[in-house]
Symmetry: C2
Subunit: 538 residues, 2 copies
């Protein structure tokens, strides 16, 4: 694998590959280097990796970047590429000077990122309200199971919003750019994970709901999940949480009520296919089985799915399944037996059978599937399906998920439904709904960015209706209320654009009529309804 | 952990510890550096680690070595220390110039050792005689189950010696400094593992026995084991082998009949206690359970015992048990339910219960236990015990191993038997024997180096008899013949000392009389009787 560390001659008598003759990297001042490193972390590391070995984006090690040179690299950074590189300059995120700086930076060797020990994690750990000091029953009369935890991305906050009244009940400080929220198995607690690796625990029974504990177990993270199993092997509801890190590449099991870090397990290992050592296998999505005391941990770069038994957290048992590279996001089928996860840059969906603990199928989809957790519905022709939209293609696909009653459609793409454009991040439905909702958040066209579509389950061959949800920003992410009769859509504005920082639009799911706006939210993105998140309804 | 990589400032906003102000490291020429690197690999890496983070020996990173300076370091390297550093100069292994070179070398940053990919391993892999071309029955009339595989350490060879006639039946080229040999579950095949990471497969049915396959899966290795399980979950006899590597820190599952490398799993993870990332957790001993399709893989630096299920080698399930740091060598108790392994630098023996898949006990012993596989016998007072001698103390301890009938003695040191000196590497007994045999190979005293002792099981309070087995070299390692009525002892000479390169002395185990010498072997060390090794009789 190009650019991995450790290419000096071995001790055991094997010749190393001679280094390619390359020019000198542009010299940066210490200040420039620090600025570039921060920008790389914020904007680039997600796709290219902290060590720049590539993942969703290509490798950016000096052997790749030096031959291109500063001018060509700066142009790509500023203008983007048709293959998926964002146009950071045109979007106004980076100046021309910053694009040039980044072009110079990536011709230098990536700086070695730091490790994080248990001692450091414990240093970050704070219990703000001890479990024994927390209420024993809800301190308010609100319908907390219909609360929504809403990521206010650029504010580093989460808003807790009442799904009955649309009131913002609390706005709490969390990690930066919270990627997802997950609820404890009882629903009482919300766990948020920030891009900066900080986990916050919010107690919804307090009045107002408040952060009762926090910890930082990574420098860069994307996922958190809880223990959900309650059965013969024990009651693990609200017992543990697990944090999946991008850097360091590991996962950390923490106490469910205090976030005390308990156990760290590295994901550094070998790619599933070529069996090369990878120094940065990042933990993407994690889900908890409802039927066994296990987490499904998706390791992106090595392409392995790890089934982590949490009955004995200090001595975990891990089944390491070969799957496909670039595992990212995914969700359960309606039965909860199968977990469908995007191997995004491989244009595939991997189907994990958690009962048999094996990969049941790998399904080819369109370009760069990005399901979020996907959407389960009953197709009039093909029976139960799970569906995803795509970042690289204006298409929503449905995959048969019922090997018992519809074996001929199981793990096959049974429908490919055209959308107005590519760049979709999310789709969503609910068992009570007639519709599948889909966004186009990262489409380069401003109008399409703001457009959502609904597809009728009764006639799922094309969108039934598409419309712009606002005259600014981007429409992103859907969530149903507890009853499944209203849909919330985020309008993702800009934190520095007063009046247009963002809002949530609430629709009646039956009529598709707008029924409310929750205004003046700072860059709202993901929204997680307590009841639906606990029950994995999507 | 001092000296680990990755101490540059993090990307996520955490301040790094400022580097200690140190002098400049001595400059070496490229030739000197290469020579020093090879000497370090041959003589130093075993205890200090390739990355010099320390294990059995202390860390040797520049923050530790620069303050000491060249003169003091060279003196330690030449003269040794009372704490266990060998006197390489006095022993004649290194010249004064080489000691000074090494003193300079270790003040420089350790060079990054290379990774090894599956592609490289497959490049090293050779099948010399395909399984279908091998004999279907033994091609000679010798009693091959009483063959001994004898490591000829400095020759890079293994001698196959007939235990009935003492004839050298074959001398085959293997890896360098073969650390151990293991037999396939049927006994037909011998697997050797060299210090250089090379595994050779010897077919004992051929006439003469010959190497039929070889592979290299590491640059530095110590352990190999086979799959032994035959039961409801399948017949895995002679199906797989597993190679445990020191560098890269991983294990590799290979085909049992061809050595085709199949699966690589990294051991890089977190120390069991402080949960710090360790870049070099080396695989020490590996044993196969007779009762489940699992290997016990001892990971030295992280102090974890991994139970590796081999029923699905591409998707292995691994139970990761916290144990103790510096796991090294060990063996089964007589029942095969418990595996006792030395945490050598922690002066402890860890007792693994493979049936319950948990650590049953951790027993304090004397300084640096080095059991090899240990010795099981019935103590007249305490019942079944397993015993070990020590590198750092002239003492043999016996640990009770029978929690059912002798629960008061289980996992306790019930006897500490004094020996003439420290430096013991091995002890051995056999169920048919009245004795426990023990060596003192690494004792600094030349006479004690050559001395073996026997302890009477009937009166295990002190050695019954001690004697020198030769007038040169060191006495090392014991093995019984198949019947358990003869004991073989190696005399470990010097490859460059004609007539005194080494030999094996065979004793009648009943009378303790010498009955044969197998002369002119080049540095014989470990000897593995086919039958006893298959059955784990020790």
């Amino acid at each position: 694998m190009a650019g991995l560390k450790g290419e000096t001659p071995p001790t055991g008598g094997v010749e190393a590959t001679p280094a390619v003759e390359l020019g000198e990297a542009p010299v940066l001042t210490t200040e420039e280097f620090e600025q570039a490193r921060q920008i790389f972390f914020d904007r680039c590391a997600g796709c290219h990796g902290v060590l720049r070995n590539g993942a969703t984006g290509p490798a950016l090690t000096p052997d790749k970047t030096l031959p291109k040179g500063t001018l060509a690299l700066a142009s790509i950074i500023f203008n983007g590429t048709p293959r998926g590189m964002p146009d950071w300059g045109k979007q106004g995120v980076l100046t021309a000077e910053q694009a040039e700086l980044m072009a110079k930076y990536i011709q230098n060797e990536p700086p070695a990122p730091p490790e994080m020990s248990m001692e450091q994690m414990r240093g970050f750990w704070k219990v703000l309200v001890a479990p024994e000091d927390r209420p024993t029953e809800p301190q308010h009369t609100r319908n907390w199971e219909n609360f929504f935890a809403v990521t206010l991305r650029d504010a580093g906050q989460v808003a807790v919003i009442d799904g009955d009244t649309y009131e913002v009940v609390a706005t709490v400080n969390t990690g930066y750019a919270v990627h997802i929220s997950r609820m404890s198995a009882t629903g009482r607690y919300v766990y948020t994970i920030g891009r900066d690796g900080k986990t916050a625990l919010i107690d919804l029974w307090m009045d107002p709901p408040a952060v009762v504990a926090e910890v930082k177990t990574c420098y860069d993270a994307r996922s958190v999940e809880v223990s959900k199993y309650n059965g013969p092997e024990g009651d693990f509801t609200d017992r543990y949480a697990i944090v999946g890190c991008y850097w360091p590449p590991h996962f950390v099991i923490v106490d469910g009520l205090t976030l005390e870090p308990l156990k760290v397990v590295s994901t550094r290992s070998y790619t599933y296919d070529t069996q090369e050592y990878h120094p940065e296998p990042r933990v993407a999505s994690i889900v908890a089985s409802h039927f066994s005391p296990k987490w499904v941990v998706n390791v992106k770069e090595t392409g392995q799915i790890w089934l982590v038994d949490y009955t004995d957290v200090q001595n975990p048992a891990i089944k390491m399944l070969n799957a496909e590279r670039f595992l990212h996001d995914g969700g359960w089928d309606a039965s909860g037996r199968y977990f469908l996860v995007a191997a995004n840059n491989a244009n595939k969906i991997v189907v994990l059978d958690v009962q048999e603990e094996k990969v049941a199928a790998i399904v080819e989809t369109e370009k760069i599937p990005h399901p979020g957790r996907g959407a389960n519905w009953i197709d009039p022709v093909f029976g139960p399906v799970w569906s995803t939209s795509h970042l690289g293609e204006g298409a929503l696909v449905a995959i048969g998920t019922d090997p018992v009653n519809h074996p001929e459609y199981a793990w096959k793409v049974v429908r490919t439904i055209p959308l107005p454009g590519a760049g979709s991040l999310f789709l969503k439905t609910h068992p009570n709904s007639d519709w599948i909702w889909v966004d186009h958040t990262l489409n380069p066209d401003e109008e399409i960015q703001r457009t959502v579509c609904v597809i009728a389950k009764a006639n799922p061959v094309e969108p039934y209706k598409c419309w712009q949800v606002a005259d600014y920003g981007r429409a992103v992410h859907f969530e149903y209320n507890m009853e499944g009769n209203q849909v919330w859509v985020s309008v993702w504005g800009r934190a520095d654009d007063p009046g247009r920082t963002g809002e949530i639009v609430v629709y009646d799911d039956k009529t598709l009529e707008e029924i409310a706006r929750i205004p003046n939210l700072v860059t709202p993105t993901g929204k997680f309804n307590v009841y639906n998140t606990v029950k994995d309804i999507y």
